[in-house]
């Protein structure tokens, strides 16, 4: 039984790392613009298909697709921003509808371009098992986890130290005051969308490298990212990691100790429990105090 629980914790941790990377982009946009980008999962999926294209057409490792994925996803993210920025009234609600529509368009575009077949990497290196005592993982999963931590660190550094990062935080805090201080809010918001695009691109390529993709997956990715973002507390980068790992571990433990059929239910149960106890999310209250 101990072996089972240890493996569940380890699988949950690795899954949490991948969830965190998928959620980061959504958290950045949500934190800065209070816009829930319901097309975020489709942006991640677009990058995953870029990985598939590079691997299947050129025979290269999907990792080599990251520059292409960044270019494609950032272009798509800029288009999403172009639509959202034109919304003048009730931006929170109207942006939901607009980004949902964009998500549907992206899903169907993916379907038309790449067909409905399921795709997954054929790279033996990425799928190779890495065994540490009683713990089994895939090399790709460990790489995914490492990339997730590195990008989270880079994002934290960017938000804390760079001019644009601080501008993003200033606009998130008070858009009008930031504008009075000479920060162009429109450009700053576009930058946050592009940063989210870069994160989504890395997440998508990583997702293709360890999992199975199909055109309908985008909506499920958005839901997962949204749960983690709210669980974390709006705008909290460490919260995203903690929320994602908690979710991954809760799901894996549920599969091991109860039933695999209850995995999604466990995730939603955790989500509701955290929101009941901490309505601002795991890191929402401390952030407000800060």
């Amino acid at each position: 039984m101990l072996d089972l629980i240890l493996q569940a914790l380890y699988s949950g941790l690795l899954a949490g790392g991948s969830y965190a990377l998928i959620a980061l982009g959504l958290a950045v946009v949500f934190g800065t613009m209070r816009v829930i980008n319901l097309a975020h999962g489709e942006l991640v999926l677009l990058a995953a298909y870029a990985g598939y294209t590079v691997e299947s057409r050129l025979g290269w490792s999907p990792v080599a697709a990251i520059p292409l994925a960044i270019a494609v996803v950032c272009l798509a993210a800029a288009c999403v921003y172009g639509v959202v920025s034109r919304i003048r009234a009730d931006r929170e609600i109207n942006s939901l509808i607009a980004t949902f529509g964009i998500g549907v368009i992206l899903t169907n575009t993916i379907l038309l371009v790449w067909s409905a077949d399921v795709r997954s990497t054929s790279s033996a290196w990425l799928q190779e098992a890495v065994v540490m005592g009683p713990l089994y993982g895939m090399r790709g999963e460990l790489a995914f986890f490492g990339v997730s931590l590195a990008l989270m660190g880079a994002l934290w550094w960017w938000l804390a130290k760079s001019w644009y990062g601080r501008a993003v935080r200033a606009v998130a805090s008070n858009r009008d005051a930031a504008q009075l201080m000479g920060i162009p809010p429109g450009r700053t918001e576009l930058v946050s969308f592009l940063v989210a695009g870069v994160l989504a691109a890395c997440a998508g390529v990583a997702l293709y490298s360890v999992g199975v993709i199909q055109p309908a997956l985008g909506a499920a990715l958005t839901v997962k990212a949204f749960i983690i973002t709210v669980l974390a507390g709006v705008g909290s980068i460490p919260g995203v990691l903690l929320g994602a790992v908690l979710l991954g571990v809760a799901e894996a433990l549920t599969v091991t100790l109860a039933s695999s059929a209850l995995q999604e239910l466990a995730g939603m149960g955790l989500f509701l429990l955290v929101l009941f106890v901490l309505p601002n999310g795991l890191f929402g209250a401390s952030r407000r105090r800060g």
Partner: protein, 384 residues
């Protein structure tokens, strides 16, 4: 004089009813959403059937009107209603028992025949839909899986199945039948959204320790399960699945995961079609889609061809609008690409029995039943 005129008029009416006509047949299919892949595969078979029928029938023509149900039950109903309002005389298609049930209900209320091979849930044929017909069923898949396990002489099986209706139904019936034969069975239901199967496979590896793993899901599930098994390497003798697994596409897309894996397959790969009907199907399929036909295409072709033939017979008898299509389908007794088809009172094909194939190298070898086997099963053998 009146009698002569009456006879002439009756003759004229009969001749008119027997005239060549073009009929619109509705295809309600999931072309987008989670079932898009299988929906597209079935549509290919439907289009091939229309092409072959229109070329060979020589009299009536079938025009296919397709509406995408987006893999959604509500939209499946809307699709059937739209097709009916556009003049469809019957519906072919449907995928996923969850979508087929409400869609065929809608067709039933409209008095339209609904024929499918996309749903194996037993409720589809026990709910009393008078115009519902199905060419495959859980019993046929169950026979194949049980036959294979009997040949393997397994003592224990772990079943990993999706919680969807059709997959749960098949998993439960196989579990019951295996248990009745004294085989130790453990069951692991999983949510269709599940992607990381390592915790499940770890339970199988450490707790269940079965002779074989039986997977009941769809392509993405199989890839996830097999990949997790490849990492954890449970000490099993066989990995067995059902639909969408022993296909050339899976062999080509996932060459590292498929070796020695078993799945239902009516034909070996490369396919050998010996009948004239089979050759017409395969040649037309390759001409239209520039690839080898798969099982989805075969099923879509057979169900649609049987429907077209029933429509043509009903048209010749002038009974199209009087329930003639359903009547002709009930009279069907015909050898097809999937075997002999006859419909019972509930609309189910009473003869359906599947076969089991195994990925061996780049080929798919039929290994069960013995009378249709094209090779010997590699057992014990797993992909890793």
């Amino acid at each position: 004089m009146q009698r002569i005129l009456g006879t002439a008029l009756a003759g004229l009416l009969a001749a008119m009813s027997a005239h060549a006509e073009e009929f619109t047949v509705g295809a309600e299919l999931p072309l987008t959403g989670s079932l898009a892949r299988v929906g597209a595969g079935m549509q290919e078979g439907i289009m091939v059937a229309a092409e072959v029928f229109n070329r060979t029938n020589g009299k009536h023509r079938m025009k296919i009107a397709t509406v995408d149900d987006e893999s959604s039950p509500a939209k499946a109903i809307a699709a059937v209603e739209k097709l009916a309002s556009d003049g469809a005389v019957a519906i072919t298609g449907g995928y996923g028992s969850n979508n087929i049930a409400p869609a065929s209900d809608a067709a039933n209320k409209l008095g339209l025949v609904y024929i499918t091979s996309g749903g194996v849930d037993e409720n589809l044929v026990t709910a009393g839909r008078k115009h519902f017909f199905r060419i495959n069923n859980t019993a046929g898949y169950e026979k194949a899986a049980l036959g294979l396990f009997a040949d393997m002489k397994v003592k224990s099986v772990s079943i990993v199945h999706s919680t969807k209706d059709a997959t749960s139904s098949l998993a439960q019936s196989v579990q019951k039948a295996l248990a009745a034969k004294g085989v130790k069975v453990t069951s692991h239901a999983f949510d269709p959204a599940m992607t990381d199967f390592k915790p499940v496979i770890n339970k199988i590896r450490l707790q269940d320790r079965p002779d074989a793993v039986f997977m009941v899901g769809y392509e993405n599930d199989y890839v996830g399960i097999l990949r997790a098994a490849r990492v954890l390497k449970p000490q099993v003798k066989a990995m067995v699945g059902v639909w969408s697994l022993a296909t050339p596409k899976m062999a080509a897309e996932f060459p590292d995961l498929m070796p020695n894996v078993y799945g239902t397959a009516l034909l070996p790969f490369p396919a050998k079609f010996t009948s004239a009907d089979g050759r017409a199907f395969a040649d037309t399929y390759k001409a239209l889609y520039k690839k080898e036909p798969d099982y989805l295409g075969q099923f879509g072709y057979v169900q649609s061809m049987l429907l077209f033939e029933a429509i043509a017979r009903a048209a010749d008898k002038g009974t199209i609008r009087k329930g003639g299509i359903a009547e002709e389908l009930r009279r069907t007794d015909r050898e097809t690409l999937i075997g002999r088809v006859q419909f019972g009172a509930n609309g189910d094909n009473v003869n359906f029995s599947h076969r089991m194939g195994q990925h061996q190298g780049k080929n798919i070898v039929i290994v069960w039943p013995p009378q249709h086997a094209t090779g010997k099963m590699a057992y014990p053998a797993v992909p890793w």
